[in-house]
Amino acid sequence: MNESNHLPAQIKTVWRISALFNTLLAAAVGIAGLVIYHFWDYQWWLYAASFFFVVAIIDFIVEMSLVPYRYSFWLYTVTDDAVELRSGFIFRKLVSIPIARVQDVTLSAGPILQSQKLQEVRITTASTSHRIDGVEPVVGEQLRKQIMKLAVEVGNHDV
């Protein structure tokens, strides 16, 4: 599998749900502000609360509208000896991580990812850390195996 892959389509749902959660979190802070304002009647609480509501709404709109953009321009490639992550259209970025430099791979899944049957992959080198937002468990497992295999082949790549 040397061709570029999109993230699985379910990731869009994951992003949307997490955007919703972020909005709810900001809104909850706003509501808390309103409640305090109700009891204390201090003008600044009202301003703070409305600030959080505005943030919540703007964040929601921006994140939601960016989901298709993020999806179409976020690609990853796993070659024999490197993982490449490509992102963005306006600001294009191509990261290449030689597998020989990888120190560890972490697969993890929170409740939202679990509901979509996905896993987050975090690849760590001696100095940097890179994340693939979500892959199917099969791909994650394959990635892990490939990296382990190469790590053994390369042997000592000490810092």
């Binding site: 000896d81 970025k93 290449s96 030689p98 080198t125 100095s127 790549h157």
Partner: protein, 483 residues
């Protein structure tokens, strides 16, 4: 495995107390109220209460000292610390990156020193092991154990150039006093000190009672320009002297020697600071010069390593050659770091049209200062316009000093920031990951940025070459992709 737990030198109780003096002072301030109250309540003099507190503090640090033990085994160094939470740190000798020891002049007769040992782990910002006050013999013992299994680190140095030139077993270098002098005179470090002194002067002036100023001003109002001038000159002279003395005492009798592929640096007047690192652990080399040193043709060579040992708590920079004449950089360096290039490479530079982007970006940044100044101070805000000029100069400087070259198995990248030029020599195998970055507008102008990540200290050093031709960027990226 024989267990031979050792304690630190008992004097380290004083070290602990001194290191936690802020906590102690805070404790005394907070405690002073209650202690006075309670003491008077039970009818004893408050001094007794304070003595009890002092005994408590000394006692606490004594227990701390008693709980601090270390063992030097055949395979690893073990450090046991903690009074309530017991902590045992095990460090296999082969994993040690750097051994650093610091010795104040007054500890020399007692053969005591502070020992810091670092591995490549990046859990913490502090060294993995700190032995605050131990006999010098401990370090010799650890170093001997570490050298014992040098076979492991030999595999790691599977470097192409290394097989061509047999490693030099021994080399020595000592800083030339005249060069150190020039180095100290040409530091840009005076500018922050000048700024700080002017700030202090301003504060002092504010603090002087207005009445005093009024009476004094009346008598010397016509001389104020002279006085201001004198104060200004005094501040500048003091800053230069301060910066000069700091640097000279820091790099006083700087020595570098290499033995069995281990580099050892030694420096300092009041406190001798020494770092030992295996050559194979060096991730990259940095050759640095500020704009004044560029005119004086002197450079500084530093090593990037996965350890925060260095001459400065903050910067992690491991100094290899504080000052060396430009034409001797690599001649001096090569005996110590055998993979270092033999001479300065002829770098590729940016085309003149790329200069514009650097100047544009720097000018835009300077607007962050200028626009608020114009808004708040109206016409007087125009006085901030020199910032724009500095911005333009900085942009031009960055662009003019940007350069790159691929030589054998090494990537050489050069850039300029804040009137300081840094050239990095990075072996291919030490590049942890790399990026090719381009905005949509840059696809039309056929330009790109290349970013390279190298391990430095406990984190990452990003080295970037901006606005280089897309084709060259792709070539470098291709070269990086080749295993």
């Amino acid at each position: 495995m024989t267990s031979n737990k050792q304690h630190l030198n008992p004097l380290s109780i004083l070290y602990f107390i001194f290191r936690h003096s802020w906590d102690t002072i805070l404790l005394i301030i907070i405690g002073s109220g209650p202690i006075t109250n309670w003491s008077t309540a039970i009818g004893v003099t408050p001094w007794l209460g304070f003595t009890a507190l002092a005994i408590l503090i000394v006692g606490w640090h004594t227990v701390r000292y008693l709980c601090f033990t270390f063992e030097i085994n055949d395979e690893m160094l073990t450090i046991n610390t903690g009074i309530l939470v017991k902590k045992h740190t095990h460090i296999p000798y082969s994993r040690i990156q750097t051994v650093q020891h610091q010795q104040w002049f007054f500890l020399v007769p007692f053969h005591l020193e502070k020992l810091q040992i670092e591995t490549a782990g990046h859990d913490d910002h502090s060294p993995e092991a700190v032995l605050p006050l131990v006999n010098e013999r401990i370090r010799t013992e650890i170093e001997r154990k570490r050298m014992g299994d040098s076979s492991v680190s030999d595999d790691a140095t599977e470097d192409f150039s290394e097989r061509l030139t047999p490693p030099v077993r021994h080399a020595d270098y000592e800083i030339n006093p005249h060069e150190l002098n020039v180095f100290a005179m040409t530091s840009l470090g005076v500018f922050p000190i000048i700024g700080a002194l002017f700030a202090i002067y301003g504060k002092v002036q504010e603090a002087i009672p207005q009445r005093l100023i009024d009476s004094v001003t009346n008598t010397i109002i016509h001389q104020s320009a002279i006085i201001l001038g004198v104060v200004g000159v005094l501040i500048v002279v003091l800053s230069i002297a301060g910066s000069y003395l700091t640097i000279v005492q820091k790099y006083y009798k700087f020595r570098l020697n290499s033995e069995d592929d281990q580099l050892k640096t030694e420096q300092g007047l009041f406190q001798r600071n020494s770092v030992t690192i295996p050559t194979a652990r060096i991730q990259a080399l940095r050759i640095k010069q500020n704009v004044i040193r560029q005119w004086c043709h002197i450079s500084t060579v530093q090593a990037l390593a996965a350890s925060s040992a260095g001459d400065d708590e903050k910067s992690n920079d491991l100094m290899i050659l504080p000052v060396v004449k430009n034409d001797q950089v690599f001649d001096t360096l090569h005996p110590f770091v055998n993979w270092a290039p033999k001479q300065f490479s002829q770098l590729d530079h940016l085309a003149k049209r790329s200069y514009w982007y650097f100047i544009r970006n720097a000018s835009l940044i300077s607007l962050i200062v200028i626009l608020p100044c114009l808004y708040f101070f109206k016409v007087w805000g125009l006085l901030s316009l020199p910032v724009l000029l500095i911005g333009i100069l900085m942009g031009w400087y960055s662009a003019a000093n940007t350069g790159w070259k691929v030589v054998d198995n090494q990537l050489i990248l050069q850039g300029g920031h804040f009137f300081t030029r840094s050239q990095y020599v990075i072996p291919h195998k030490n590049i942890q990951s790399f990026l090719f970055v381009q905005s949509i507008w840059m696809t039309h102008t056929k330009l790109a940025h290349i970013r390279v990540n190298v391990r430095h200290g406990n984190s990452n050093q990003l080295i970037e070459i901006r606005y280089l031709p897309e084709v060259t960027g792709k070539e470098i990226f291709k070269w990086l992709q080749n295993r």
